[in-house]
């Protein structure tokens, strides 16, 4: 019997799923009024008030997606902000990183400023962006861009700096001019570093969008959460968090797929095939 249910590669998914069910089961047991006698709170509806109830969250999500179908607009806004922040931040980071890595003087001059901007807790810029770009999508995208930019920037910078001097000399001997070196040597080398940071930067673009919405907006999932919080509707808050988590996971696996497609040239350890 144990032989079949013992955790192994094959039934990994089942175990992961079981853990999720167990987690929500425990949550339900502890919070649903009347199931367990209250041992921390004064009465049995207080646990539900503070921690929410999984069943009500599920109901909430159901009405969002199916019966009312009113979350798509908000999700669309959040996703659009995320993608825009990611795209703009990546392009700026790629350009800036390439430029500074190839222009040592400019990089020497700007060095302390870049360090300062990176060290600054940039989330705090959100109120300023709201003033500059209004409460619409612009301010959220701007916040996401500042978060994504530095991740990509530093990775590209590193990537260009770490180009093997031999590969570079070889490309020059093969007749590559400055533009061709950029296109065929620096860029591919830098993109491998960008991809290694892609998971982080997509995540941060998402963070920028949601935090921006949370601080002031009229649409987006962050806005939904903020509203629910205003009326102490903890179930809706939790439901919003769950939806956000699922979408973040989705984005992350999408990035993983793209990475696997584009990075076939990279060595992976233990790449053998069982016959």
């Amino acid at each position: 019997m144990w032989k079949w249910i013992k955790p192994r590669r094959g039934n990994l998914r089942i175990w992961q799923l079981l853990l999720l069910v167990a987690l929500f089961g425990f949550w339900h047991l502890m919070t649903a009024p009347g199931l367990v006698a209250p041992f921390m709170f004064d009465n049995d509806s207080q646990a539900a008030f503070f921690f929410g109830e999984p069943l009500k969250m599920a109901q909430r999500i159901w009405t969002w997606f199916v019966t009312d179908a009113d979350i798509y607009r908000h999700l669309g806004v959040t996703l659009a902000e995320t993608l825009m922040a990611f795209a703009i931040g990546s392009v700026l980071g790629l350009g800036g990183g390439l430029w500074l890595a190839l222009a040592p003087m400019a990089s020497a001059i700007l060095d302390p400023y870049i360090k300062a901007m990176n060290a600054m807790p940039r989330i705090i810029l959100a109120p300023i962006f709201s003033v500059w770009f209004g409460l619409g999508m612009g301010s959220k995208v701007a916040l996401g861009v500042t978060l994504v930019f530095f991740i990509v920037f530093f990775n590209v910078y590193q990537g260009v700096k770490e180009v093997s001097p031999v590969v570079l000399a070889n490309a020059r001997m093969l007749g590559a001019d400055q533009r061709q070196l950029l296109r065929h040597v620096y860029l591919p080398s830098a993109t491998s570093w960008v991809f290694s940071s892609l998971h982080t930067s997509v995540g941060l673009a998402f963070v920028g969008a949601v935090v921006g919405e949370y601080l002031g907006s009229s649409s987006g999932v962050g806005y939904l959460i903020l509203q629910a919080e205003g009326s102490f509707d903890i179930n809706t808050v939790m439901a919003g968090i769950i939806v956000l988590t699922i979408f973040a996971l989705g984005l992350d696996s999408l990035v993983g797929h793209i990475e696997a497609r584009l990075m076939t040239w990279q060595p992976r350890s233990g790449e053998t095939e069982k016959l």
């Binding site: 031999v166 093969l174 001019d177 990279q266």
Partner: protein, 269 residues
């Protein structure tokens, strides 16, 4: 006849990046010529600036003093008539074997279809016809060296510069590669400047062997013509009397320098 590559009075002094007062003169007063179609090897103790000379010949390094002429023309910038086979891994890891061999043709603006065809032809010639779609990390060290060889030769350079190209290979693969290189060379007759620390290899392959003195400020101190008939087989040639004779004569000059270089390294450590 003008030499394919002529170094005249070349000196290279390096300045330490963090301490400009610290100078190191790698090579000094070097006169070296490689005739068109001639296979010249340079041997010498470690750290005698062999690679420095090659980089000067390639145009990757500008000498502190002296002139470099390529087929009678003074060299400025990269040497466009030379192909360079590096000691270390030099393939672009993000390109397949075929992509790597094609790279130089692409840089020169050869149409893709034609470049692909030529590159494929050269891959076949170095025995990697079926491996065009492999990435460098999917190939063995010997296969990567073959790709490097094809990458260099597909551009049909008049001068081939080789920096211990086979030193990282095991002895069997190495002999195979040496024989292959000799076969290709004898059909194309390029000027070759071949750097090695292996005297056997130098004698077996070359028309001429140049011995460098120990650094710093090393220079050629011996020049031996290898009058062994071609075609040669690098493994068989090593037991012929003439080979042993030449080996003894060159080793006589080289041994002292090797010991000197070794002493200097011990003192520095």
């Amino acid at each position: 006849m003008t030499a394919a590559l002529a170094l005249q009075g070349v000196a290279c002094t390096f300045i330490a990046r963090h301490d400009p007062g610290q100078r190191y003169t790698a090579v000094q007063g070097v006169n070296l010529t490689v005739g068109a179609g001639e296979f010249v090897s340079v041997v010498g103790p470690t750290g005698c600036g062999k690679s420095t000379l090659l980089n000067v010949g390639a145009g990757l390094l500008t000498p502190s003093a002296g002139t470099v002429q390529v087929f009678g023309q003074p060299l400025s910038g990269i040497n466009r008539r030379a192909g360079y086979m590096f000691q270390a891994e030099s393939l672009m890891p993000w390109r397949t074997a075929l992509g790597n061999v094609m790279a130089g043709l692409e840089f020169r603006g050869v149409p893709t279809a034609q470049a692909r065809e030529q590159a494929g032809e050269w891959l076949r010639r170095v025995g990697l016809g079926g491996f065009g779609d492999r990435y460098p990390h999917q190939m063995s060290g010997g296969m990567r060296k073959r790709v490097s060889l094809a990458q260099t030769l597909v551009l049909d350079p008049d001068i081939i510069l080789m920096d211990e190209p086979f030193s990282a290979l095991d002895i069997q693969t190495r002999q195979l590669m040496e024989n292959e290189l000799l076969t290709i060379w004898s059909s194309q007759r390029k000027a070759v400047l071949f750097i090695t620390h292996d005297l056997d290899e130098a004698i077996a392959m070359s028309d001429r062997v140049v011995v460098m003195s120990a650094g710093p400020g090393s220079r050629p101190i011996g020049d031996f013509t290898i009058d062994i008939e071609r075609p040669r087989d690098v493994a068989e040639i090593k037991v012929t009397p003439r080979f042993l004779e030449l080996h003894a004569a060159i080793w006589d000059v080289l041994r002292e320098e090797v010991l000197k270089g070794y002493q200097q390294q011990l003192q520095a450590a």
